[in-house]
């Protein structure tokens, strides 16, 4: 008799989704136009109609942010600014369940992840940055660092509320006001966040939320009233933004793609390593910029690790994101599913060996089974290009130096993993790796105090920690 887990669905009753949304500008919800649907990727059910912000709306939002900056926010002491951020953090904690359910419905990620990771971290980011607002003189940027003004912030669909927190919290703590555009496919938690701003009595115009697509993002990037751009998304779009703002005086921070190497040495603690590999690439359906998408196995333990990895993968529960026992949820959109499928096909075509556990995937919705490719080399597309899905490319190495060479042999440089029980080797490897975030004997760990960002084409700047504040304060550089 096997132990099948009966369905354990989280209740939807805690959220109430409006049939149609506008934008949040100047402290009010205003009507929008040119609506498009946002869909639950697990069921393809239309959740709501979302407005597409055009020039008029973006102008209104930037003007509201500018007005709030000049008349209120830049005049307010850090002490008082901080207290607004504390209020926001506390209300997010109070409404945590509501946010978690909404995030899962809109994004497709398992409710366990929204509930236990995304939402608590988002609230923690506000709590942490609230405490910086009146301590900026200790940030290492001078005795009286100044904010930049109005920040235009464009965030991705993989961690919608968390990415909002990573952008809004430091910007406000440093004294800026913001115009934020959530991703096209995941606007709902940002719109709920606007309600939190109202409950916290945040002065009108300090936070403005406009929804839309790439065209809306471009309007924000190019708007002359924006002093600073913060973007998280693909490297391709990051470069477009860098070129677009080159003739201007706008500050830019970018958090872009990755193809992280997850390096397993022969003295790794093997069961926890297998857990870490699984977490590194299948957490959040692999929709993670810092995902451990290239597994580099020391050749003398490759067979053993792969054997255990496959056994472990058999136990991954793929299915209804609203079920509390689901480990891997739906792919966020049809478009993303197509990209993953195409790249996986390239893996087959280039001669890598594909393997997935047997997985009953639901009929409706966008799904991709957790997959590994063995026999991958650096020259394969699936070793170079970011797949952004639950697909792991497995390579081998003979010596630590070779592992480092392979790990660094990429234009990306966001993150890396090291698995070993030898401290000196772990520290040596971390010293050699050209990556902004390095996890040793763990993976995908985030904290508001811990700076996050990449080397090379993985972006500019850091988010979180004391280092992350400099993105929103005037620094020494004139560019």
């Amino acid at each position: 008799m096997s132990f099948e887990y009966a369905p354990a669905p989280e209740s939807r009753a805690v959220v109430s989704i409006k049939p149609k949304y506008g934008h949040f500008i100047g402290g009010k919800f205003v009507a929008g136009s040119k609506h498009f649907p946002t869909v639950n990727p697990a069921t393809e059910e239309i959740l709501s109609q979302i407005a597409l912000a055009g020039k008029a709306e973006v102008d209104a939002a930037v003007n509201a942010a500018r007005k709030a900056y000049t008349t209120t926010w830049s005049k307010m002491s850090g002490k008082e600014r901080g207290k607004y951020l504390y209020r926001i953090a506390r209300i997010m904690q109070e409404r945590a369940r509501e946010f978690a359910v909404l995030e899962t419905l809109d994004n497709g990620k398992p409710i366990r992840e929204s509930r236990d990771t995304d939402i608590p971290l988002a609230a923690a980011h506000f709590f942490y940055h609230a405490g910086w607002a009146d301590k900026l003189e200790y940030a290492g940027l001078g005795t009286s660092p100044k904010p930049l003004g109005v920040a235009g912030q464009i965030i991705p669909w993989n961690f919608p509320l968390l990415m909002l927190a990573w952008k809004v919290a430091p910007a406000l703590a440093a004294g800026n006001t913001v115009v934020l555009k959530p991703a096209e496919s995941t606007p709902l938690t940002a719109l709920l966040f606007a309600e939190v701003c109202q409950q916290a009595e945040l002065p009108a115009g300090v936070v403005n939320i406009v929804t839309g697509d790439g065209s809306t993002g471009a309007l924000i990037v190019n708007h002359p009233g924006i002093d600073k751009i913060a973007f998280t998304g693909s490297t391709e779009v990051g470069k477009i933004i860098a070129r677009a703002v080159a003739p201007t005086k706008k500050s830019v921070t970018l958090e872009l793609g990755g193809k992280a190497a997850n390096i397993v040495f022969d003295d790794a603690p093997i069961d926890e390593t297998v857990e870490g590999i699984v977490n590194g690439i299948f957490f959040n359906q692999g929709h993670v910029c810092c995902a451990g998408s290239r597994l580099l196995l020391q050749e003398n333990v490759a067979e053993e690790v792969l054997h255990k990895l496959k056994n472990r993968m058999e136990k991954i529960r793929v299915g209804d994101p609203m079920d509390k026992n689901t480990d891997v949820g739906a792919i966020n959109s049809k478009e993303q599913l197509a990209k993953i499928t195409e790249l996986a096909a390239a893996g087959d075509a280039e001669g890598a060996e594909r393997w997935s556990p047997a997985c009953a995937l639901p009929a409706k919705g966008f799904w991709f089974a957790p997959t590994i490719f063995t026999g991958v080399t650096q020259a394969h597309r699936i070793a170079r290009e970011e797949i952004f899905g639950p697909v792991l490319s497995v390579l081998t190495f003979r010596t630590p130096q070779e592992a480092i060479e392979k790990a660094n042999n990429t234009p990306f440089g966001l993150s890396a993993g090291i698995w070993s029980e030898k401290g000196s080797r772990t520290l040596w490897a971390s010293q050699q790796l050209r990556a902004g975030v390095i996890w040793a004997n763990t993976f995908n760990k985030f904290d508001p105090t811990s700076p996050f960002g990449g080397y090379k084409e993985s972006g500019w700047g850091r988010e979180g920690g004391r280092h992350g504040l400099s993105a929103y304060l005037k620094g020494v550089s004139h560019e």
């Binding site: 504390y86 709590f127 200790y138 010293q431």
Partner: protein, 280 residues
């Protein structure tokens, strides 16, 4: 209109999350600014101090092990609770010190805001006081500031609430626990503050509050071998030297301060530096 007799509060000590009377059974009289009788707070004895130190020591490992985030949330909750009970504190301050309502309100406001300020330091002080050090060799070398253990403090006579908070909050921010002697003439704020602490998810024993005479309690604090450090901001200057002589027995770290500053947090931390080779 009836002349209702109000129910007056009995003020007790705050030790290990409970409100015991002094084991000595003694009290002393506290009068209002106008000379009217207000209350008989406990006159703490050296044994009360002894018990408080036991409680503080027992609580220290757990408080230190809590994440900085958790400690910050608890400090913020203390601020939430204090804000909700402003009126009581304003009344007590006015009654005992005779200041105007405006001044009393400002002290309470500043006290709440000060707690919020300290709450935001718990997870940032390491950025300030810690470092990685570029030693001239193949070693990873880092310095982390850690809490010291049990700190005893003597709160300033005035301001009776804000001064008390400025003594107590920086000590616990980093993970120390504290035994504090409140203002002698104006102890009510500290004792009512104990009620705020009792409703703030603060673990028992992290803050322990005694009321009584400085000349009686301070020497026992200074000589106690299980107290790691001492804040003598509230002790009259003429008694500083003898505290330091007594404290030298276990090399207590002894400080006094005049204002709020993150340096007060760092003063009650120890810097630990670790070396680890970097190599294959």
């Amino acid at each position: 209109m009836s002349n209702r007799i109000d129910v007056k509060k009995t003020y007790k000590l705050y030790i290990n999350g409970a409100f015991p009377r002094s084991e000595s059974g003694r009290t002393y009289e506290v009068k209002s600014a106008k000379g009217a009788f207000i209350a008989n707070p406990c006159l703490a004895s050296r044994k009360d101090l002894r018990d408080a130190v036991v409680a503080a020591r027992a609580a220290q490992a757990g408080w230190n092990k809590a994440t900085a985030y958790n400690r910050g949330q608890i400090l913020y909750r203390i601020a939430e609770m204090l804000e909700g009970r402003r009126a009581q504190f304003v009344d007590e301050i006015m009654q005992i010190t005779g200041v105007t309502k405006v001044k009393a309100e400002k002290e309470v406001t500043d006290s709440v805001d000060r707690l919020v300020w300290y709450a935001g330091w718990t997870d940032k002080i390491a950025s300030l006081a810690g470092s990685t050090n570029p030693v001239a060799g193949p070693f990873y070398n880092f310095t982390i500031p850690e809490s010291m253990g049990v700190v005893a403090a003597i709160a300033p006579e005035t301001p009776s609430l804000l001064g008390f908070i400025d003594s107590v909050a920086p000590i616990i921010t980093s993970g120390n626990t504290v035994v504090i002697l409140a203002s002698t003439k104006a102890p009510l704020s500290a004792m009512t503050f104990a009620e705020v602490l009792a409703t703030s998810d603060l673990p028992h024993g992290v803050i322990n509050i005694l009321t009584g005479k400085k000349e009686e309690i301070a020497p026992w604090m200074a000589s106690h071998m299980d107290i790691d450090a001492l804040d003598i901001s509230g002790l009259p200057a003429k008694l500083h030297a003898e505290s330091k002589v007594a404290g030298a027995e276990n090399l207590k770290r002894i400080h006094s301060f005049k204002s709020a500053d993150p340096g007060r947090i760092i003063a009650f931390m120890e810097a630990k530096t670790v070396w680890h080779p970097i190599g294959l």
